[in-house]
């Protein structure tokens, strides 16, 4: 940041923090004193209208009222984001304190500031929360939900979500009612239903808080998906219990029929929500099948269908969160097969962006609302609530795990249980639900205070201490592993193996049903929802291409190979020994010839074809990247050539072609409606093509031959050396020679200086 360049790196950061604080300090009084402006504005314009003949034309006038609402919203969001920016500039702080805590503190400060000024701080409006702030976070979570661990543990998750939440609600409600019966507390006016209502509000684990805290501790996948899945799926229970008790507490009595209806309602709410979500998900997938000509609006379909799913289910009082999750999960595999890579990136970044903004705003508003909200403090009640929350959670988790472990293949250890129990954070959903309580509840303020205290406790105390506890208990962390083709092959292999062994054993287990679902999916569903011929493409190939794509992108961006690969291993190291080797002398001869003849051609072609390999969209963007690529190539010449060799052998997924051109292997990155089909010819057979005279001729040939002009081919690469070393054409030597040519590091070293394309 040149504007802030200082002698010491630290002072840059401090400057920015100071700027932020000043900004905040100025921003708030503007908003707070907003009403003052409006009267001036309108008055002013009136005056000028009436006496227009005398007054000069108003060159500059202030009309704040005109832009008030959007201005305030934008300013709030901007301030929230600047705060977030500020935290990350202070590394020591962000390592110790989770972001959510800091944001709440900022909210408290802002709320305090506003109160000091004398204005009324805005409270987190429940409507705003549920309709605008929550959906992006849930959609982000649902769309990127890791399906495999989720489905493997769905039974456990459901048990925790449903039974665990019910247990929490009733345990807390019941005990609090018992507490209120004690005379000394002074709350004898609280009846059982009100307590149960309170219990149901405060018992649900909150996805926003869990996401915010767990994201930073990188815990192992199993525990993460358990807590996170629970926080998502308990929404149905919360909705039903809340509505149930809200209705009942107005009436005052409960009958058996009501309880039965409540149970039925639960199933309706949860399954209905999932159904609504799934319907919209399929609609979105179907729509994405036809978007090949309007790529720009693809992301919007994803967002809008999901939001509609949420709103539709909220309309019917079904579980909106479950609808959103179902929609994201259902549509993702099909949409991702249909949309372009750029749309995928757009979706990813927009979701992350919106969920980040929402989360930030939620926590800040929580802080502000704490300052603003009406409070009724009762020491006993609040403290008991906090303690009971913890106790009921721990008891619930232990009890349920005991039962669940009887049914799980891989049992949950004590450490897992501890983290699941300790990670049950409460958050803004509880607050909003509390805020939604109508004012007829005489205990509303007390409840709100208690809820806020619980939220603060869980977010601050549990949120801050969970990281050192995870370290202390040496809980398994998430493995940061690069996608490995071997792992992917073996994961799929294992799936089939386990399905097969289950078949031998004779009972229909987990893998059997998964296999059946996959087959159904492939034969019927994919046909309708995936554009072009892609639906036939098996997962392994899709993964393989994605991986190569990622590595290629990494290559272009960083100019280095991913660290997995060392520099010298190439195809020839692993070729079967059956191919006879050339004597060393012969090899030298070949090398010399190649070196002599290949000077410019090979280099240029390779650089051009190489750059097209790694870049997959033939836009103008390519040119920029091409230049960058050539630059980095110069730096990492040797390794680059190895990478390219690697890729030339990897990316042999063949394309659909009319005339089999020998010796050509085409490279494709993304399907984009391409068809994969086997090539009829076996491994590389060579004919004698006309040697390309100039690199331009080669590239023209490339262009002509391409069915889709975007995709490059290795043809140029292979033809070059071969064309020039036309003397040696013994069949059995060809492949090996090819390998040697491509792995030959010789010409590269001489090339750098005189290659005209290598212009910086």
């Amino acid at each position: 940041m040149p504007a802030f360049s200082c002698a010491f790196p630290g002072c840059r950061r401090d400057l920015l923090v100071i700027v932020l604080v000043v900004f905040v300090g100025i921003g708030l009084p503007i908003e707070a004193s907003a009403p003052a402006y409006q009267s001036h504005g309108t008055e002013g314009s009136h005056l000028t209208n009436i006496t227009n003949t005398k007054k000069a034309f108003p060159v500059l006038a202030v009309n704040y009222e005109h832009v008030r609402k959007p201005f305030e919203i934008a300013l709030w969001i901007l301030l929230a984001l600047l705060m977030k920016l500020g935290f990350h500039l202070i590394p020591r702080l962000s390592a110790v304190v989770p972001e959510s805590c800091l944001l709440i503190v900022v909210g408290l400060l802002v709320g305090g500031l506003i109160k000091v000024i004398g204005e009324e701080p805005p409270v987190l409006d429940s409507q705003l929360f549920f309709l605008c702030l929550l959906p992006p976070i849930i959609l982000d979570a649902g769309y990127f939900l890791p399906i495999r661990p989720f489905t493997e543990n769905v039974g456990t998750i459901l048990v925790f979500a449903v039974i665990g939440t019910l247990w929490n609600a009733f345990f807390m409600g019941g005990l609090l009612y018992a507490l209120c019966q004690i005379e000394s507390v002074g709350l004898s006016g609280v009846d059982l239903l009100a307590c149960l209502l309170f219990g149901s509000i405060v018992s649900a684990v909150d996805p926003v808080a869990v996401l915010a805290v767990f994201e930073e501790i990188h815990i192992n996948e199993l525990v993460h998906i358990l807590v996170f899945g629970e926080s998502l799926l308990n929404d149905a229970v919360t909705v039903v219990l809340y509505n149930l008790f809200e209705e009942f507490s107005k009436v005052g009595t409960v009958t058996v029929l009501d309880v039965f209806l409540g149970v039925v309602c639960f199933f309706v709410v949860s399954l209905g929500g999932v159904l609504v979500g799934a319907i919209y998900g399929f609609l979105a997938a179907f729509t994405s099948r036809f978007t090949s000509h309007t790529r720009v609006i693809e992301p919007l379909f994803v967002f809008l269908y999901s939001y509609m799913a949420y709103l539709s289910s909220e309309m019917f009082h079904l579980s909106g969160i479950m609808a959103l999750i179902a929609c994201g999960v259902v549509m993702r595999p099909y949409v991702e097969a249909n949309i372009s890579h750029k749309s995928y990136t757009t979706i990813k970044y927009f979701l992350k962006m919106w969920s980040s903004v929402s989360e930030t705003l939620i926590f800040i508003f929580l802080g502000v609302s704490t300052v603003a909200g009406p409070h009724a403090w009762n020491w006993t009640f609040v403290i008991t609530t906090v303690i009971l929350c913890l106790v009921s959670r721990v008891l619930g988790v232990i009890g349920l795990t005991f039962i669940i472990n009887k049914f799980r293949i891989v049992k949950l250890t004590k450490k897992d249980q501890f983290i699941v129990a300790y990670g049950g954070l409460r958050g803004a959903i509880a607050f909003s639900l509390g805020y939604l309580l109508s004012n007829s509840h005489q205990m509303r303020n007390l409840f709100l205070t208690a809820i806020i205290t619980v939220i603060f406790f869980t977010v601050f105390v549990q949120g801050m201490t969970i990281r050192p506890l995870v370290e202390l208990l040496a809980v398994k962390k998430k493995k940061e592993s690069k996608p490995s083709i071997n792992e992917e092959i073996h994961t799929e292999f294992l799936d089939h193996l386990l399905t097969g062994v289950e078949g031998v054993c004779g009972h229909y287990g987990h893998y059997h049903w998964k296999e059946k679902l996959n087959r159904f999916n492939k034969t019927y569903v994919k046909r309708w929802l995936i554009a072009g011929e892609n639906f036939k493409e098996p997962e392994l190939i899709a993964f393989y291409r994605k991986m190569e794509l990622k590595q290629a992108i990494m290559m272009v961006e960083s100019g280095q190979l991913p660290s997995v690969l060392p520099s010298t291993i190439s195809m020839q190291n692993i070729q079967p020994r059956a191919i006879p080797r050339v004597s060393k002398k012969r090899e030298e001869e070949i090398r010399r010839i190649l070196r002599a003849n290949l000077q410019n051609n090979k280099q240029k072609m390779r650089s051009r074809s190489y750059s097209r390999h790694t870049l997959f969209d033939a836009d103008e963007e390519d040119n920029v990247s091409e230049v960058r690529l050539r630059k980095t190539k110069m730096e990492m010449e040797r390794r680059v050539s190895v990478m390219e060799r690697r890729m030339s052998h990897y990316l042999t997924v063949p394309a659909n072609r009319e005339s089999p051109r020998p010796g050509v292997r085409r490279v494709r990155f993304e399907s984009d409606n391409q068809v994969f089909s086997a090539d009829s010819f076996p491994t590389v057979h060579f004919e004698q093509p006309s040697p390309p005279s100039t690199p331009d001729a080669v590239s023209l040939e490339e262009e002509e031959e391409e069915e889709v002009p975007k995709r490059p081919s290795l043809k140029a690469d292979i033809e070059g050396p071969r064309g020039n070393a036309s003397d040696n054409h013994q069949g059995e030597l060809d492949y090996q020679r090819l390998a040697r040519c491509l792995s030959d590091p010789g010409p590269n070293k001489d090339k750098e200086d005189d290659d005209p394309f290598m212009s910086c």
């Binding site: 472990n405 293949i409 891989v410 049992k411 250890t413 493995k479 592993s481 490995s484 083709i485 071997n486 792992e487 092959i489 073996h490 799929e492 292999f493 294992l494 089939h496 193996l497 386990l498 399905t499 097969g500 062994v501 289950e502 078949g503 031998v504 054993c505 004779g506 009972h507 287990g509 893998y511 059997h512 087959r519 098996p538 392994l540 190939i541 393989y544 690969l565 060392p566 520099s567 010298t568 291993i569 190439s570 195809m571 020839q572 190291n573 692993i574 070729q575 020994r577 690697r646 052998h649 990897y650 990316l651 042999t652 997924v653 063949p654 994969f676 089909s677 086997a678 076996p682 491994t683």
Partner: protein
């Protein structure tokens, strides 16, 4: 019914239980299944396993069936294949898919992991030379993709080559251009798959209760 039957064979089962780690009920159920598959004979043949309808659409069924008849999986230090197996050998092969116990030490888990990975390795290393060569790996990938229809050999070859290169890169680090990477040894295999946590993944649920009679599987499994 199942429980009574197993109790009557108890001494035999006890020895098997000790060897393989299954419980008596599980052994009883598996014995029933064995008898069902082998048409009440003592020995099971390849043809018997071929008749299982669930395996019909499995892309790697030949390898799975072979694994049952592979002497290396019998824990008796033999090698080669046999034509028919007894119940004990059937059980030993099945025991590779038992989940690890809840309170195992780290080295016990490591042992379990090695055992399971050894099973997988044996499945790939068909000529039993201790290494998975490029051809064998290509064959594995081809079989995996064999159900996908049109894509066939070229793709499989590309993927297998890529995978092999990855293994070589991870295990060998640096190699001269004229050095030759023979194949994936067991140690390399362990290394590349160490992140998968095989001991939690390569398990199936073995029934403790006899539900086969309830589901009327007897007639339907052998068509």
């Amino acid at each position: 019914m199942g429980a009574l039957q197993s109790l009557s064979d108890e001494p035999e089962y006890r020895e098997l239980a000790e060897k393989t780690g299954f419980s008596f009920e599980q052994i009883g159920i598996l014995h029933k299944r064995f008898k069902q598959l082998s048409h009440n004979e003592d020995m099971l043949r390849r043809a018997d396993l071929d008749t299982i309808p669930d395996l019909a659409c499995n892309p790697i069924r030949t390898q799975i069936i072979e694994a049952f008849f592979d002497k290396r999986n019998f824990h008796q230090n033999g090698d080669g294949t046999v034509e028919e197996i007894s119940f004990e050998e059937f059980l030993v092969v099945m025991s590779h898919f038992r989940p690890p116990a809840l309170n195992m030490t780290e080295e016990q888990r490591e042992k379990v992991r090695r055992e399971k990975l050894r099973f997988l390795f044996n499945m790939h290393d068909t000529d039993n030379d201790g290494t998975i060569t490029l051809e064998e790996y290509r064959h594995v990938v081809e079989e995996l993709l064999s159900r996908s229809g049109a894509l066939g050999k070229e793709t499989a070859k590309g993927i297998a080559d890529a995978a092999m290169l990855e293994v070589a890169s991870i295990s060998m680090g640096h190699m001269e251009p004229d050095e030759f990477y023979e194949g994936i040894t067991f140690e390399h295999f362990l290394k590349i798959l160490k992140d998968i946590e095989i001991e939690t993944k390569m398990n199936i649920r073995f029934l403790n209760m006899d539900t086969t009679t309830l589901c009327n599987r007897d007639s339907s499994s052998i068509r």
